[in-house]
C-alpha cells in the first residue's frame, strides 16, 4: 500500500485535490441553505416538523441511489455527469445535519435571554443577529462539522458519476482486485475525515464567543 502511494503520488494528489474541491464547492451552498432553512423553520413548529421530516427521509436514501437521482435531476440542465451532480448530492446530504443543528441551536438559547433582549427593545432581527446566532455558534458548527466529515466519505462515491476524487482508487482498485490500491484510497479518505474533523474543531473553538467558552468550561 505504501509502495503504491509512493509510486502514484502525483495521481493521488490530483485525486485528493479533486475530492476536496467537491466538498469545498458544496459546503458554502449547503451551509447557506441549511442555516437559512433552520432559521426560517425555527419560528414555526409545523414547518419545523415537516422540513426536518423531509430531511430525515433524504438521509435514509442510500448514498449510491442519491447520486443516481442527482444524475437524473441534473441532466436536463446539461450537468448530469461530473462535478455538478456530486455537489448536488452532497448538498442534499448535508441538509439534515446542518438544518437540524441550526434549529436545535436556536431553540437552545434560553427563552429568558431572548425575553430580556425583547424587553430592552431589540428588534427581531437584532435579537437574531446579536443574541441568537452568536449563542448558537457551538451547536451550529457541530452540525457543519458533521456534514463535512460525512461529506468526505460520501464524496468517494462521486467517482461513479464521473466527478473523480479519491473514490477512483477504491472503485478502480476493486475492479482490478488491487488490494493495495483500495487500501490506499480507503486509508487516505479515513485520514482526511479525521483531519477535517480536527480542523473544524479548531475552527469551532476560534469562532465561539469567549463568554460562552468560559461558561462551558465552568460546567
Amino acid at each position: 500500500m505504501f509502495y503504491y502511494i509512493l509510486a502514484n503520488s502525483s495521481r493521488i494528489i490530483d485525486g485528493l485535490v479533486r475530492h476536496l474541491y467537491i466538498i469545498a464547492a458544496s459546503l458554502p451552498i449547503s451551509v447557506t441553505i441549511g442555516v437559512a432553512a433552520g432559521i426560517l423553520i425555527s419560528r414555526n413548529k409545523r414547518a419545523e416538523r415537516i422540513v426536518i421530516g423531509i430531511a430525515n427521509i433524504l438521509m435514509t436514501i442510500p448514498s449510491l441511489a442519491l447520486f443516481g437521482f442527482a444524475i437524473i435531476i441534473m441532466s436536463p440542465l446539461g450537468m448530469g455527469i461530473g462535478v455538478p451532480p456530486a455537489i448536488f448530492a452532497l448538498v442534499i446530504y448535508s441538509f439534515l445535519p446542518i438544518t437540524r443543528n441550526t434549529v436545535l441551536a436556536l431553540h437552545a438559547v434560553p427563552s429568558s435571554t431572548i425575553e430580556a433582549a425583547r424587553g430592552m427593545g431589540m428588534t427581531p432581527r437584532q435579537i437574531l443577529r446579536r443574541i441568537q446566532l452568536p449563542l448558537a455558534i457551538p451547536l451550529l458548527m457541530a452540525g457543519i462539522r458533521n456534514a463535512c466529515v460525512m461529506g468526505v466519505s460520501v464524496t468517494t462515491i462521486a467517482y461513479l458519476v464521473g466527478a473523480g476524487g479519491m473514490g477512483h482508487f477504491i472503485f478502480a482498485g476493486m475492479t482490478r482486485t488491487r488490494l493495495d490500491m483500495v487500501l490506499a484510497g480507503a486509508v487516505i479518505v479515513a485520514v482526511l475525515g479525521i483531519a477535517t474533523n480536527y480542523l473544524l474543531v479548531m475552527l469551532e473553538r476560534a469562532v465561539t464567543p469567549r463568554g460562552l467558552m468560559l461558561e462551558q468550561n465552568k460546567e
Binding site: S112, T113, A116, M122, P209, G211, L212
Partner: protein, 376 residues
C-alpha cells in the same frame, strides 16, 4: 402620571389572564405586584412594555396610550430587569450594561461614562469586572449587573420581574438593601413582580395583590399588613402577620447614631478608658480615613486577652444595612449573640447601631396596637 392601567384586560380564548384592571402606579415609588401563581401579576407587568399585548382597555405611559407607542421605542424607554440568567453570556459586563444605550445610538464616550457611573451605583469595581463575562461572576454580582443594565439609559420607569428570585436568602436580603439604597438615589417609578410576601413588604411603597386576574387590594404596604382586605390577603400575609409588621420598619429609622468608634492606632488601655467614659462595653474598630467597619472590640476581651494592639483583639462582627428591616435585624441579633448590631451602608461605612432593646420596644408597641384593635 407615568403608568395608568384603565380597565386593562388580557384574555386567552375564554380565559382571563388579567380582568378589568384599573390602577394608577404612583410615580417615583416602588409598586409591588404580588399574588398566587397564575394571578396575572407577570402578565400585567409585561402588558406595560407591550411584551404581552393587551386585549381590551387601555394602558397609558406618560399620558400616551401604548397603542400609539412604537413598541420597540417604548421598550427602550422602560428599564427591564429579570432574573440574572437574562444577562447575555457572550457579552462582557460592559457590553451587557451598554446594551440599551447602544440601541439608542449613544456616543461611545457617553456610554463609557454612564457604565462607570452605574458600576459605582451598584457598587461593583469597574476595573475588576467590566471586561469579565457573566459566567465569571457570582449570582449576587450578576444581579447587580442586571440592575445596572436595566437602568443604563436612565429610564423613568423600570419593570422588575422577580429579579432576586434566583439568589440565596442571605445574599437576597443584602441585595434588597442595596437596591433600596439605590432607589433612594434614583427615585424611579418601579413596578416589581414577586411571589415573596417578605420581599413585597420590605421593598414596596405600595402593594397590589392580584388573584385570578383581578385586583384584590392596592394600598400602601402599611395598610396591607394592618388591614388586609380579604381572607386571601390575610392568607398571603400568613399567621405571623403582627410579627411581619417588623418587616415594615427600617433599620435606618430606628438606629442610633451615637456609638463609640476606635481606630487601630489607639492602645488597648486607652480604648478601655474611652469605653468607660462613654459607659459602653464595646466599641467598633474603624478605618480612620473613611470610617469603614473593621470589627468590634469588647471591654471583656481587652481585659482578658491583654494583647498589645486593638487589631488583634477585634472580632469580625455580624452587621446589617440601613434599609434592612427590624425583623431581619432581630434574626441577626439572635444569631450573633450581641445586644447591638453595627449598621453599615453599601460601601462598608459604619453609619449607626441598632439595639435589641429598640426592636423589643417596637414589638411591644405593635402588640398594644393589635390588642386595642381586637377590643374595638
Amino acid at each position: 402620571m407615568a403608568i395608568e392601567l384603565i380597565n386593562a384586560e388580557k384574555t386567552y380564548g375564554d380565559i382571563y389572564a388579567v380582568k378589568d384592571l384599573t390602577m394608577t402606579i404612583p410615580d417615583n415609588q416602588i409598586t409591588i405586584l404580588i399574588g398566587p401563581s397564575g394571578c396575572g401579576k407577570t402578565t400585567t407587568m409585561k402588558m406595560i412594555n407591550g411584551l404581552i399585548p393587551k386585549t381590551n382597555g387601555d394602558i397609558k405611559i406618560n399620558g400616551t396610550s401604548i397603542d400609539e407607542w412604537n413598541p420597540i421605542q417604548l421598550r427602550r424607554n422602560i428599564g427591564y430587569i429579570i432574573q440574572e440568567i437574562g444577562l447575555f453570556p457572550h457579552y462582557t459586563i460592559f457590553d451587557n450594561i451598554a446594551t440599551v444605550p447602544r440601541l439608542l445610538h449613544w456616543e461611545e464616550k457617553k456610554i463609557r461614562q454612564r457604565v462607570l457611573e452605574l458600576m459605582d451605583l451598584v457598587n461593583l469595581d469597574p476595573d475588576e469586572f467590566l471586561q469579565k463575562y457573566p459566567s465569571q461572576l457570582s449570582g449576587g454580582q450578576r444581579q447587580r449587573v442586571g440592575v445596572a443594565r436595566g437602568l443604563a439609559a436612565d429610564p423613568d420607569i423600570v419593570l422588575m420581574d422577580e429579579p432576586f428570585g434566583a439568589i440565596d436568602p442571605i445574599n437576597r436580603e443584602k441585595i434588597q438593601d442595596s437596591f433600596l439604597e439605590i432607589q433612594k438615589e434614583i427615585q424611579k417609578t418601579i413596578v416589581f413582580v414577586t411571589h415573596d410576601i417578605h420581599e413585597a413588604i420590605k421593598l414596596g411603597d405600595s402593594i397590589a395583590i392580584l388573584d385570578e386576574g383581578s385586583l384584590v387590594q392596592f394600598d400602601s404596604a402599611y395598610n396591607v399588613v394592618n388591614n388586609p382586605a380579604t381572607p386571601l390577603v390575610e392568607d398571603l400575609l400568613g399567621s405571623d402577620r403582627a410579627f411581619k409588621g417588623l418587616a415594615l420598619l427600617r433599620v435606618k429609622d430606628h438606629m442610633t447614631k451615637t456609638f463609640t468608634t476606635l481606630t487601630k492606632s489607639v492602645s488597648p488601655a486607652d480604648a478601655l478608658q474611652t469605653m468607660k467614659q462613654h459607659d459602653t462595653k464595646f466599641a467598633f474598630l474603624v478605618d480612620g480615613r473613611n470610617n469603614k467597619l473593621l470589627g468590634v472590640v469588647t471591654a471583656k476581651d481587652i481585659k482578658k486577652r491583654r494583647a498589645d494592639s486593638l487589631d488583634k483583639l477585634s472580632k469580625q462582627s455580624e452587621y446589617i444595612q440601613p434599609y434592612a428591616t427590624l425583623l431581619e435585624s432581630l434574626t441577626k441579633l439572635f444569631s450573633s449573640g450581641f445586644t447591638a448590631l453595627p449598621v453599615i451602608d453599601d460601601k462598608n461605612v459604619l453609619v449607626g447601631v441598632i439595639h435589641m432593646q429598640t426592636i423589643l420596644d417596637q414589638i411591644e408597641e405593635m402588640s398594644i396596637l393589635e390588642t386595642a384593635e381586637d377590643e374595638a
